[in-house]
């Protein structure tokens, strides 16, 4: 029971990390109609910038601010320099251009930081584990990730449901032409939305830095899972991204944890482990296929 609880926490934590990435991706996708493959690069930039600032200054706060600023600034620059020219073009052009950006940023990071993974230290007060239940120690830092992710989700909800900017964002997602006709500077809105998405991706990268490995190409590793989340949740829907991310995080973690064990009951251990690992890694994609079959536009389509 304690083990199941711990695995659920792990699933929520993975889901929350995915949410931070998926939220930006789904906004950009839904509102601007752009497929941004370079979203993972912004995640990488956030992680690298924070790791570098932390190594230079030793300050957690400065590292956080540095990482966020770098991701947001680079994000807005991408929108201003590259994507702005692509809104009217078809998706293939966008995919090609943003794939080019991946190569550009990866090679740029190799030139700036080299191929060696960077070291990221956790501050002392975050490095231990606490007992969430008697006998279930859980890393403090992972609890912090969960808390931050939920706070960001709440903040986004308030921003989108309760503010004027949020109203424009929602309107932009559903009635693009009407918003433009009412005299709203849609170009500025797009830059802001893209910057917000970049900020969230950078934040995910900063949070992931001390847990995962900070190296060139880290963004592409997690991007595929992020796309799965966006598709399951429904393109353009923040709410969908939240539920989709939690669903993917929990399903992925529980499958990895329990499928090999279940298979051991029916076959020899070594085979069960290998087959179980294979099944678990297919799990989220099967889930995506199932969702697409039953609800082709995702669980919470934004344009419903």
């Amino acid at each position: 029971m304690a083990l199941l609880l711990e695995q659920l926490l792990n699933g929520v934590q993975l889901g929350v990390t995915l949410f931070l990435l998926a939220a930006g991706l789904t906004l950009v996708f839904g509102i601007m109609g752009v497929i941004n493959l370079a979203h993972g690069s912004l995640y990488m930039i956030g992680a690298f910038a924070a790791a570098w600032v932390a190594a230079q200054t030793g300050s957690v706060l400065l590292a956080l601010l540095g990482g966020l600023a770098a991701a947001a600034v680079v994000g807005m620059a991408i929108e201003f320099v590259v994507l702005r020219r692509l809104y009217a073009r078809d998706h293939l052009d966008q995919v090609l251009a943003t794939f080019g950006l991946i190569l550009f940023f990866n090679q740029g990071m190799v030139i700036l930081f080299g191929r060696q993974p960077l070291f990221v230290a956790l501050p002392e007060f975050l490095s231990g584990a606490v007992e969430v239940l008697p006998g279930v120690p859980y890393p403090v830092y992972r609890l912090l990730i969960i808390a931050c992710g939920l706070l960001v989700a709440l903040g986004l909800w308030l921003l989108i449901q309760r503010t004027r900017i949020g109203m424009l964002v929602r309107a932009g997602a559903t009635h693009r032409e009407m918003v433009r006709a009412l005299g709203v500077d849609i170009r500025l809105l797009y830059t802001l939305v893209f910057g917000l998405g970049a900020l969230l991706a950078g934040f995910a990268g900063i949070m992931a830095g001390p847990v995962y490995s900070v190296n060139v190409g880290m963004g592409e590793q997690i991007l595929i899972l992020t796309f799965v989340v966006v598709v399951i949740g429904g393109v353009g829907s923040i709410r969908g991204a939240m539920y989709g991310a939690l669903l993917v995080g929990i399903v992925d973690t529980l499958l990895r944890a329990y499928v090999p064990g279940l298979l051991r009951g029916v076959m020899d251990a070594s085979q069960a482990d290998m087959l179980g690992a294979g099944l678990a890694s297919m799990g989220v994609y099967l889930l995506m296929a199932l969702v697409l079959l039953l609800k082709p536009r995702g669980l919470f389509p934004a344009h419903a």
Binding site: Q7, R115, G128
Partner: protein
Amino acid sequence: MTASITRRGVLAAGTALAAAPLAAPAIAQGAPLRIGVITTLSGPGGYLGADARDALLLAAEMNDGRLGGVPVQFVVEDDALRPAQGKQIAERFIRNERIRLFTGVIFSNVLGAVVPDVLDGNGIYVSCNAGPSNFAGRECHRNYFVVSWQNDNLHESAGALANIMGYRRVFILAPNYQAGRDALTGFKRLFQGTVTNEVYTRLDQTDYAAEMAQIRAARPDAVYHFHPGGLGIAFIRQYAQAGLLGTIPQVLPAPSMDVGTLAAVGDAAEGIDLSSHWNSDFDNEENRRFVEAFRRRYNRIPTFYAQQAYDTALAIGAALRGAGGTVDNTEAFRTAMLRADFRSTRGSFRFGPNQHPIQDWYALKVERVGGQLALVTKRKILENHGDAYAAQCRL
């Protein structure tokens, strides 16, 4: 959706380093012998291939652009850890560039795609890292040589180390691909205790929280895991954050704790035991020369990936010298290669009947040396160790 580096960028970076000292002899004696280097330069495993490439270039550089007296040129390309991409590069190298001699592949799944094409094209492959079991036994080949180790060796030595440490119950993990399966097979071959759990992770996995929870629940004496490059960094960091570091010791094969991993993991690595065929502190003349030259040239400590590539360059040099400076006569090249007429940085080295190494294995430990964490050689654990597949190989 993994990214790759443009071919031109890698070529430029790779050949720029090699080109300068090569220019003069190349003009004097016609075109240099070109050696195809297909390796992993991007993604979490990118620094492994970069170290191998840098060591190959260094070996030639230290000998005025020659190996075994023959001017050479390395043509380097990035496989991005994708077997299909490695295969395409191999085909192009063979057909368009007319390259006959290959090395560089880091990952066994890429090797599995590259080597058949090279051998079918009557080329020669000299492995500087991956040595998967499927090419070591019945499928061994006259033109396929491995200078590093047979994959299982890394893990057999870790199993032997676990015996020496007195661990009875060990939890073992590896990624679900050829080398990962070789790893768990290898570990179990020499380990005499019980394996409590056998877990396959994913080659693209970043989060190991589910595995940490299983480890805590199983309460083993020790954990053995094979996670090369970025995978190992993430795994060991999360191991420390899960609070397992102080309670359950780790016993690792060399790829899970190279000096790159050590730098990125930091204090969490202190006290970890591992097995390896080489370490930068080995006290022999060739090794001192290599480590010193590598540090001066690249300003970092070489990983064993670099050492193996350097040894591979020396082995190729010895074979070229014995074969009259060409690869046209593959039998002459083979005869010369199998003599292993070079001084290895690891000390004793010879080829077994399946053209894989017979060598010694050592226990290393992560310790503080002058305030800095470093890998320190402790003792020899296996002597003149060959591999389990040699008997099935008929050459």
